[in-house]
């Protein structure tokens, strides 16, 4: 069992957990993820690591409540335990001294981009951060994120915080201002990653995107998380989750992500009324 040591409510649908998992905390690196299972009937849920503390032996996760399992997770409290917690999974981010880098966290993607940003700064890069969300309530960790950046931008679709507009609008301005950008990492919803990659491609700026695919085992044995990258099929869980944004087939990935949409609705409905009513 893996104990929840701390819970923070970042917004009504956005929660942070610090989980006791010393073995994973000892080994994990920026860019990797874990898979958790709440209880005996639970599904395996992949979540990218938002932070870790090797001394305390903890892993920090931030998740949005988007379905049955994440809502159930969101109702758990400090002191409760998760049944299964597996990791660190996936390849770590490629941390090098690239020069001037832009780290983009969109929505809940702010969480996984945080440790990568920190590692890129420690590697001696000039780091420009962008935190983006639909609206103010969905932003979090702005001070923490900003502390890892030499320059920091915030934007919201509705203009309730920071600049009004999309990540691509902010990125465009940065590129125009700075001229030379050596590396971009973008994590967030597929449209944010797709359009960021589309913008940097003609400019030849190396761009990595972290794919949040449907997963089952997370160790390379099933291929549920397959992504088309260039001419090849890759498994996000062992070959990724980060891939070259200029080669990812984002449209296919978006449609694969919707594979179980009906079932997800059914699971939510069953969970909200107890399932014994026969109404679904």
């Amino acid at each position: 069992m893996y104990k929840i040591l701390k819970k923070e409510v970042l917004s009504p649908t956005l929660k942070l957990f610090e989980i006791e998992a010393p073995k994973i905390a000892k080994k994990c690196q920026a860019g990797q993820f874990v898979i958790l299972r709440i209880d005996e009937k639970g599904e395996r849920v992949p979540l990218t690591i938002a932070d870790f503390d090797r001394e305390k032996g903890t892993i920090t996760l931030i998740f949005a409540e988007v379905g049955k399992s994440t809502q159930q997770l969101g109702r758990m409290e400090a002191g409760d335990s998760l049944l299964d917690f597996i990791g660190p999974l996936g390849r770590p981010s490629e941390i090098e001294k690239y020069g001037r880098v832009v780290c983009i966290g969109a929505g809940v993607g702010i969480a996984p981009v945080f440790p990568i940003t920190r590692a890129l700064k420690e590697a001696g890069n000039e780091v420009i951060g962008i935190a983006a969300a639909r609206t103010k309530e969905l932003l979090f960790w702005l001070d923490e994120f900003k502390a890892q950046c030499h320059e920091f931008h915030v934007c919201t679709d509705d203009g309730t915080a920071g600049e009004k507009g999309l990540v691509t609008d902010v990125l465009k301005k940065i590129i125009e201002e700075k001229g030379k950008i050596d590396y971009v990492i973008v994590i967030g919803p597929i449209p944010a990653m797709k359009f960021t990659s589309k913008m940097t491609k003609p400019l030849g700026i190396k761009t990595m995107a972290s794919m949040n695919c449907i997963m089952v085992d997370g160790t390379g044995m099933c291929g549920a998380c397959r992504v088309t990258v260039g001419d090849e099929t890759k498994f996000a869980c062992v070959d990724g989750p980060e891939f070259d944004g200029h080669l990812i087939d984002f449209d296919e990935a978006a449609r694969r992500g919707e594979q179980f949409k009906d079932e997800e609705q059914r699971a939510l409905a069953a969970a909200s009324c107890g399932g014994g009513c026969g109404c679904h």
Binding site: K41, P88, V216, C222, V238, E258, Q259
Partner: protein, 465 residues
């Protein structure tokens, strides 16, 4: 006892095909006490024990059958367990026709003795009455790490624990058992039975660490150098699914056999939404491939509600690599075999869901390297099948996680770990390997045989160190 001269094996009662094709309960129901004794009486107790040479773990077959003849069922299971830690599993999933029963003298005129069915009978009886753990040697103070808890790892764990070594088994998934839990369906091998056999290992002191991905959480080198293990056994299996590499394979509705079976068996998606993991099958499900895994998928598809379940295989019925019994069961349940056929591409709708499959007809040519007649496509024979779901069951390779992170571990071109057939030794000192990760996808019992070989070498090495 008096010899039962019937040329026929006692029938195994089974669930009615129509009914069972729609439920996940076990198909074969097992012998009763009377049938078991009657079947045991067909054994002539050959002194040379030809049957035993066909058993990869050398169960003393005539001895345990003699105990059944005497109705000493507890004695029978104790004899089996000196050589086999998973009798209820092996009695169910071993291809006995190619192993022990192939060598049975009674098989020369009529059916061989139903050895697998008898093994299953005594194992099931013991489980229903409470299991007595096997005796272990006094502790040696040596530590053995077993990576992977499938059939090979379970055998090594059992053998090493019985020899008095402290065994820790590391499993990446949340339950131990490997393919016995995620791969072989409930209707062939109920998961409660696998769990009961694994619990027997816990009773003899095997420590099972689930959720532990070796290569990520600890490398093999760290186990040997920092964690104080005296030997490591790698039984990580062949869990990396192969795809055909044809257009459309990444569309929605296309699963690897591993994903399809893992969702169903391990995650119990057939009980969705009581269990949280979903699975989706349409009206027409096509499974590509002809092995046991393909049969499992095609039969699972019916149980998940498919109206039609097809096997599409590029050779003929004679070349199907699946066990004959499994093919028969599949046919009885209504699986349709579309043989001498292979897909060339998958087509879908605007939402990226698969809707049809273009295929070519094949004919058989000369035997190929595998000794089977090679399939040759017939020009101009293209046709289109309407499909809702496709399951790719064309084989698996070794998972690269452990080889990728282990210094000095030799692998071959396919990524399999190179290990001696006689000893299980790898190129890395103190590191042994066996089962599918060495041979490529094979059978449960072959993996157990390889585990036995490696365990013997490990115990020998530890005795001399």
């Amino acid at each position: 006892m008096s010899l039962n001269k019937s040329p026929n094996k006692n029938e195994m009662p089974c669930q009615d095909p129509q009914a069972r094709a729609r439920n996940f309960d076990e198909v074969a129901l097992g012998y009763t006490e009377e049938t078991a004794v009657d079947e045991a009486n067909r054994c002539m107790g050959c002194k040379k024990e030809p049957c035993r040479q066909g058993c990869p773990v050398q169960v003393p077959i005539p001895e345990f059958i003699a105990k059944i003849q005497e109705r000493d069922f507890a004695g029978a299971i104790q004899i089996i367990k000196t050589k086999n830690a998973l009798p209820a599993v092996c009695g169910r999933v071993c291809p006995q026709e190619a192993q022990c029963e192939k060598y049975c003298v009674r098989g020369k005129k009529g059916d061989p003795v139903g050895i697998g069915r008898l093994e299953r009978f005594v194992a099931d009886l013991e489980r229903s009455q409470g299991v007595k753990p096997v005796d272990c040697a006094p502790p040696t103070g040596k530590k053995v790490a077993v990576v992977g808890s499938g059939p090979a790892g379970l055998t090594v764990a059992a053998d090493c624990a019985q020899a008095g070594h402290k065994v820790t088994m590391f499993e990446a998934l949340h339950v131990p058992g490997g393919v016995l839990m995620y791969g072989i369906p409930e209707f062939r091998l109920p998961k409660a039975i696998v769990q009961a056999e694994i619990d027997n290992l816990r009773k003899i002191g095997v420590d099972i660490q689930v959720n532990s991905v070796i290569g990520a959480i600890d490398t093999v080198d760290e186990l040997l150098e920092n964690e104080g293990y005296d030997a490591v056994f790698l039984g990580t299996g062949a869990g990396l699914p192969y795809f055909l590499g044809i257009p459309g394979e990444n569309m929605n509705g296309v699963y690897s056999a591993n994903e399809f079976l893992t969702r169903t068996n391990l995650m119990k998606a057939y009980l969705f939404p009581e269990y949280d993991t979903p699975i989706k099958v349409g009206k027409v499900v096509v499974t590509l491939g002809g092995g046991n895994v393909a049969m499992d998928c095609a039969r699972t598809a019916l149980r998940l509600g498919a109206e039609k379940s097809y096997i599409v295989y590029r050779r003929s019925m004679d070349e199907l690599p699946a066990r004959i019994e499994e093919v028969h069961h599949a046919q009885e349940e209504g699986v349709i075999f579309n043989i001498l056929t292979n897909p060339t591409k998958l087509m879908g709708n605007d939402k990226n869901w698969v809707t049809s499959m273009e295929c070519l007809r094949y004919e058989l040519g000369e035997p190929d390297a595998s000794g089977r007649r090679s399939p040759v496509p017939i020009k101009g024979s293209e046709f289109v099948m309407d499909v809702d779901t496709v399951v790719v069951a064309i084989g698996q390779g070794p998972n690269p996680l452990v080889p990728r992170t282990t210094k000095g571990l030799e692998t071959n071109k396919k990524g399999n770990i190179v290990a001696s057939e006689e000893t299980g030794a790898t190129s890395k000192p103190k590191c042994f390997a066996g089962g599918d990760v060495v041979t490529g996808a094979a059978t449960v019992i072959k993996a157990m045989g390889a585990g036995r070989v490696a365990a013997t070498s490990i115990c020998e090495m530890l005795k001399n160190s």
